[in-house]
């Protein structure tokens, strides 16, 4: 059976989006396959896949057409046609779906276990088949090749994961990642939890994106329950999101310089980051702003004078960071390490719909805040910071430009600040479904929730941007020397916990 590639814009011509901006449609097996082929043909981006009861659902989007959809298909004998057979980016998500939820993605080319390393003492709630302990890495053949296994425990203060390098002398010919070491069963923990508990878990999917994840969860719950968060809370949410973005971008620029042995730059950058975290602690009560966003608004009363304090902070951040940028741009020995290192092609970032600096440094003009603005962002507030080169240097510059843009954005948000309530009550006993996508510092973060009649989470799915960035790190390092891996890795800064959940 051949199904021609189907464009989302074609299939949804009549459909109306829900309040959360996502169209919801049911698909037949043929339509499902055609949409998957459409992803492979570049007609739309693949965003997420999960199981909800007897249905498998996927999120697809087409940014130029301003379209987002959640496509559902009824499972037949616990099976459905895999997306991965047509479109490689779906492969890892489907491997996870297969083992955790006991569904069979038909014709999925790679069915090796992903999260289940054969160590669990009990099954995941939907799991049918348990994995064995072994894992077969993809074969690499050739003269003079050797392998370098790295991890799961790495040499620094880093999350765990395993990298299997195959090198010819100093040159990496293949990297294969094996992740899942910090899998904590987030979806199962959230299912059946009340909203407050699920919010706390969601805030801890990836600690570095806690604000973005909490915001996505809050937006999804609010649209499911028909709640409008107060205006002042929306503004503070935006301020926290941008502060989170600046704090990580600044830190990453420093860490990349450190990996090129320019330690003084990192010292300067970590000072800027520390300044931001201390200000966050004073203004919002938590250095990482964890649990500060709650469904309905924000969960704290900003400290008196917080706006002025942040205004002064931005001045210091701007000065401190620009001094670093000036040095970065003027230091040939540093640029020698970052320019032309770890190149990712535009074709690959487009195919994988890689979000954040990974996509934008290779010319993919997607930023959730610009493509699908959510409160407090308005149409035109954000223009994606773009580079074409796709190397480490380009990923540094996207960050630099985004720090500058975020500083301006916070100032504009604070100028719109008004007094008023900060938290709207959530109605009790109302069921509903909602989804949301926010722009974390590393890219788009997607959350989907279905709330049951009892007010508890009946179905939960979250997808960090790392899912579609990790595979590209394998591509970025190809042909580079082993010693440049830390630079490439840091320039991506994917989340292990965000992917493993």
């Amino acid at each position: 059976m051949t199904d021609a590639p189907l464009a989302l814009s074609e299939s949804l011509r009549e459909a109306v989006a829900h309040d959360d901006g996502f169209v919801r449609v049911d698909a037949s097996g043929g339509e499902w396959r055609a949409l998957a082929r459409g992803c492979a043909a570049g007609l739309q981006d693949f965003g997420a896949i999960w199981r909800d009861g007897e249905r498998v659902r996927m999120m697809l989007y087409d940014a130029p057409a301003k379209l987002r959809a959640i496509v559902s298909m009824a499972l037949e004998n616990n099976a459905y046609p895999s997306i991965g057979q047509f479109h490689a980016p779906a492969s890892r998500p489907e491997r996870a779906l297969r083992e955790l939820q006991g569904v069979t993605p038909l014709d999925l080319p790679d069915v090796r276990n992903w999260f289940d390393h054969g160590a669990w003492q009990q099954s995941a709630p939907g799991q049918i088949e348990r994995a064995s302990k072994g894992y077969t890495f993809l074969p690499v053949d050739g003269d003079g090749l050797h392998q370098i296994p790295v991890g799961p425990v790495h040499a620094g203060i880093i999350e765990p994961g395993h990298f299997r390098f195959t090198a010819n002398g100093e040159t990496v010919v293949r990297l294969e990642e094996r992740l899942g070491y910090v899998h904590k069963g987030v979806e199962a923990l959230c299912t059946g939890a009340d909203i407050a508990r699920a919010a706390r878990i969601c805030a801890r999917i990836s600690g570095d994106s806690t604000v973005a994840a909490s915001l996505a969860f809050a937006l999804a719950v609010e649209s499911a329950l028909g709640v409008e968060p107060p205006f002042a809370a929306q503004i503070w949410r935006g301020v926290m999101s941008e502060l989170e973005r600046i704090s990580h971008h600044v830190n990453d620029v420093g860490a990349i310089c450190n990996d090129a042995s320019v330690v003084a730059m990192q010292a300067r950058c970590t000072l800027v980051r520390e300044d931001i975290l201390q200000a966050a602690s004073v203004c919002f009560g938590h250095r990482l702003m964890m649990d500060c966003i709650a469904p309905g608004g924000i969960a704290f009363q900003p400290a008196p004078g917080a706006a002025e304090l942040i205004e002064k902070l931005l001045q210091r951040v701007s000065e401190g960071f620009e001094a670093v940028v000036k040095v970065y741009d003027d230091m040939p020995s540093l640029l020698d390490r970052t320019v032309t290192t770890g190149i990712v092609s535009q074709e690959l970032v487009n195919r994988f719909a890689a979000g954040g600096h990974v996509g934008r440094a290779s010319g993919r003009a997607f930023d959730t805040r610009a493509a699908f603005p959510y409160a407090p962002y308005r149409e035109g507030d954000v223009t994606p910071c773009l580079r074409k080169e796709g190397d480490v240097n380009a990923r540094v510059w996207v960050r630099i430009e985004e720090v500058r843009a975020s500083i301006a954005l916070i100032r504009s948000l604070l100028s719109r600040l008004q007094g008023g309530p900060l938290l709207a009550p959530l109605p009790e006993g109302r069921a509903g479904e909602g989804a949301a996508m926010t722009e974390a510092f590393r890219g788009d973060f997607f959350v989907q929730v279905r709330i049951g009649d009892d007010g508890r989470i009946a179905n939960f799915h979250a997808r960090d941007a790392s899912w579609f960035q990790w595979p590209l790190l394998e591509a970025a390092i190809e042909g580079n020397i082993v010693a440049d891996f830390p630079l490439c890795n840091k320039s991506f800064n994917c989340s292990y916990s965000g992917q493993d959940m």
Partner: protein, 171 residues
């Protein structure tokens, strides 16, 4: 670069006053360590950080310990790349089943005398991840723990208080 370095020199140190060793941490350590290994290590501890399942929030704050404000190396606390070089394992996260073996092997690779610090609420009691099929339990369910530093994540000053107590008692 020269102006940046010059500025770093002229600005003076960014470091904060060190906190006193945390009194609760001191008490806990007094119970855990007693007199063992005192004077063996000198006033210096090499720390190997192990993420055994964390959300990476704790790692962010451990990183902060190395920034010029907290600058833990001035207290003789140094993060090392190998457990072979370590006196202390600083473990974060609820220990996942997938990380259990790696944690046990890291512990086995650390020479005695060695101390284990369980950092963060997850390491102490699994935090929000308690009850998951994918988690073994707190760090103490897998290896013996000498000191617990609670918090989600604990702020650098809190971590520093705990570590100062460790220097006081263990060295």
């Amino acid at each position: 670069m020269r102006s940046l370095l010059l500025r770093s020199l002229l600005d003076g140190p960014a470091v904060i006053q060190p906190p006193a060793a945390g009194s609760e941490a001191l008490l806990e350590l007094a119970k855990a360590l007693g007199e063992r290994a005192r004077n063996k290590l000198g006033r210096s501890l090499a720390i190997r950080e192990v993420d055994a399942g964390s959300c990476n929030g704790c790692e962010l704050e451990i990183h902060a310990l190395n920034n010029p404000v907290y600058d833990v190396e001035r207290f003789g606390l140094k993060f090392v790349a190998s457990p072979r070089h370590a006196d202390v394992l600083l473990v974060t996260g609820p220990v996942t089943w997938n990380m259990k073996e790696a944690l046990e092997r890291t512990y086995a690779a650390t020479p005695s005398p060695k101390y284990v610090v369980a950092l963060g609420d997850c390491a102490a009691n699994c935090g929000v991840f308690a009850g998951s099929y994918a988690c073994v339990g707190p760090v103490s369910a897998v290896i013996p723990v000498d000191l617990t530093i609670p918090g989600c994540p604990p702020a650098p000053m809190t971590i520093l208080e705990g570590m100062m107590a460790l220097v006081e008692r263990a060295s």
